[in-house]
């Protein structure tokens, strides 16, 4: 249910130093800002504070101790089990996403430390078909939790997903069940799961693994909800408040524990994780 469009993001290409220019124009405030400074600032505009999109790798770099990350993302790709095609074959859409992101699917998992505290980390990448969850993402989330269990580490998942990957049909819907059933094992092993919700955490991802954290942390600017604004308005023509499904909306309604600015997230995770080290 990929209802959130990439165009809602202010995309900046910061992944290649060789870009033709060292400067970029912020789409929010219009200022010309030095790309390097944006990057060093966690992709937050140094002028107006607007949050730009983070790739999975950028997010990982912003959270883990330098040099501590070991990528555990095995090179698996979806079988395209339905042989799906809309106006475009799914395989082609996949190839394009793979080329654009240098990823095989919409998540990167790995082990690392956050202020010396060991974690297994999963980070979704919204660029890859809206961060949607199909067979591969579901599998990686499960493997990440299994690694956490095997190594007695905490599990941290950073969600950025429009929901299930429609192109994999029921295989994609059932990833909700798959991740939930493995999440139980993590709980039975007494290991903590911290779920970080960013823009957007919605649909089948929000309605399964992302909501089942022991602690739920929303990044400022997050979108958290099941059905999108458009779906609700198209289905029942209901007026929705302006801050609908924002992190403030969620906090006021008791849906999350904390709201954190991007630049504080590393510190925040360390604080939370610190309580669990040596617990039990």
């Amino acid at each position: 249910m990929s209802l959130f469009k990439e165009r809602q993001y202010l995309r900046i290409r910061v992944d290649r130093e060789a870009d033709d220019s060292l400067w970029m124009k912020c789409k929010s405030c219009g200022e010309l800002v030095f790309k390097r400074r944006v990057r060093e600032n966690n992709n937050v505009c140094p002028n107006c504070g607007e949050y730009f999109f983070l790739t999975a790798q950028e997010r990982i770099d912003s959270l883990v101790d330098p040099g501590s990350f070991e990528n555990l993302t095995e090179p698996i790709v979806t079988d395209d089990p339905l042989g799906f095609a809309d106006n475009q074959p799914y395989t082609q859409r996949l190839r394009e996403a793979q080329e654009k992101t240098s990823l095989l699917d919409a998540i990167v998992i790995g082990r690392g430390t956050i202020q010396s505290l060991p974690v297994v980390l999963g980070v979704m990448d919204f660029r890859f078909i809206g961060g949607s969850m199909g067979s591969v993402m579901g599998e990686h989330i499960c493997r990440a939790m299994e690694a956490a269990i095997a190594e007695r580490r905490a599990f941290v998942l950073v969600s950025s997903s429009g929901g299930a990957r429609i192109q994999e049909g029921m295989f994609s819907l059932l990833q909700m069940a798959k991740t939930v059933i493995v999440r139980r094992r993590l709980a039975e092993a007494g290991l903590p799961f911290i779920s970080v919700m960013t823009y957007p955490t919605s649909g089948g991802v929000q309605a399964s693994i992302a909501s089942l954290g022991d602690i739920l942390i929303a990044e400022k600017g997050a979108l958290i909800g099941f059905a999108g604004r458009r779906v609700i308005q198209q289905t029942i023509s209901q007026d929705l408040p302006e801050h609908f499904q924002t992190e403030t909306f969620a906090l006021e309604r008791g849906q999350i524990d904390r709201v954190v600015r991007r630049e504080e997230l590393r510190e925040e995770l360390a604080l939370a994780l610190g309580f669990f080290v040596g617990a039990r």
């Binding site: 190839r95 240098s102 067979s135 029921m170 069940a177 059933i181 139980r184 909501s211």
Partner: protein
């Protein structure tokens, strides 16, 4: 499917002839028999090779038996347990105790309305957070007392709306899933009509998942998929085919465990016969599950869901850009 109405009309005519035959003493039995033969032939032709979109329409057919109809026909003494103990009682997702062949079971049942009045009460069969919380409560009750759990799935999906989001509908679905994942009793889910997305799956994480022959189970409605992927609402038919949401296709994909046959033309053509088939299948599946030791049942449930997904190790040539290097 406009042909269906023609055939229904023909059926009515035959019935009228039959009454004439009886009342007036005129012997039409030969003609009637011929007409019936013709009707049967036409029906077979019509229904033998339903395409996916026609199945979707059958699954949503307004005359199709709903959960409460099966509760009447398959189970005895439905004892409804209402309310989520928090904010309300959802009438689109019912819970309660009942008996199957005399044995107590816990029932979760998604219920659509037939009339405008009913649909207002039941939100067109779309459960709200109150319903998913009630489901969780009933699942826990089943676990506490060792009652097998049976889910009857029939919903377009969770109700989309401000109040639902305010009450964190996504989390209530996640928690219902979590309860189903952990409950230590045999669980069987049957899609009796529409299995719509997360709202259906919330009560569908079971040891055994069945579908009625003309039921559908999908990650998104064909209309939704058409609008999002094809950018064209009129492509719902194409989307229905692409999504592989029918019982036979899902059985073929190994995602459901069995199909309960329906009479030609759909469950509504003979609800009692459908219910009877459903009852037999439910009883058989429950017997199998109960014959399995609890530990093994838990292990099988785990393995079943843990292994869902289709992927392969990427050959070196794909993708053209290599994956991120280790850091």
């Amino acid at each position: 499917m406009s042909d269906e109405r023609t055939l229904d009309l023909l059926e009515t005519k035959i019935e009228e002839l039959r009454q004439l035959n009886a009342v007036e003493g005129i012997d039409l039995s030969k003609e009637i028999a011929k007409l019936e033969e013709k009707l049967q032939h036409l029906r077979q032709k019509l229904y033998a090779n339903l395409n996916d979109w026609e199945r979707v329409k059958l699954a949503r057919h307004p005359k199709r038996p709903y959960a409460l109809d099966y509760l009447e026909m398959v189970f005895e003494g439905f004892y409804e347990l209402r309310g989520d103990r928090v904010t309300g009682d959802d009438r689109a997702l019912l819970a309660g105790l009942a008996r199957l062949d005399g044995r107590p079971v816990v029932i979760l049942a998604q219920q659509k309305g037939r009339t405008t009045e009913e649909n207002k009460e039941r939100f067109f069969g779309m459960p709200r957070p109150q319903g998913f919380r009630k489901a969780r409560r009933a699942i826990e009750l089943a676990g506490r007392f060792g009652f097998p759990l049976i889910s009857l799935i029939d919903t377009p999906g969770a109700y989309p709306g401000l109040e639902a989001e305010e009450q964190n509908v996504g989390a209530t679905i996640a928690e219902s899933l979590q309860a189903m994942a952990g409950v230590r009793v045999p669980t069987v889910a049957v899609v009796i009509g529409e299995g719509g997305s997360g709202g259906a799956l919330a009560i569908g994480l079971a040891d055994c998942v069945l579908m009625l022959e003309n039921a559908i189970f999908s990650v998104i409605t064909p209309e939704g998929a058409a609008s999002i992927l094809w950018k064209d609402k009129d492509k719902a038919k194409d989307a229905a085919a692409a999504l592989q949401l029918t019982a036979d296709r899902l059985l073929g994909l190994g995602l459901v465990d069995g199909i309960v046959p329906e009479p030609l033309g759909g469950a509504h053509k003979d609800p009692i016969k459908t219910a009877s088939a459903l009852k037999d299948e439910l009883a058989r599946r429950l017997r199998e599950l109960e014959a399995t030791p609890a530990e093994e049942r838990a292990a099988r449930r785990y393995a079943r869901y843990r292994t869902i997904g289709r992927f392969h190790v990427a050959p070196p040539s794909v993708p053209e850009t290599p994956p991120e290097p280790r850091m």
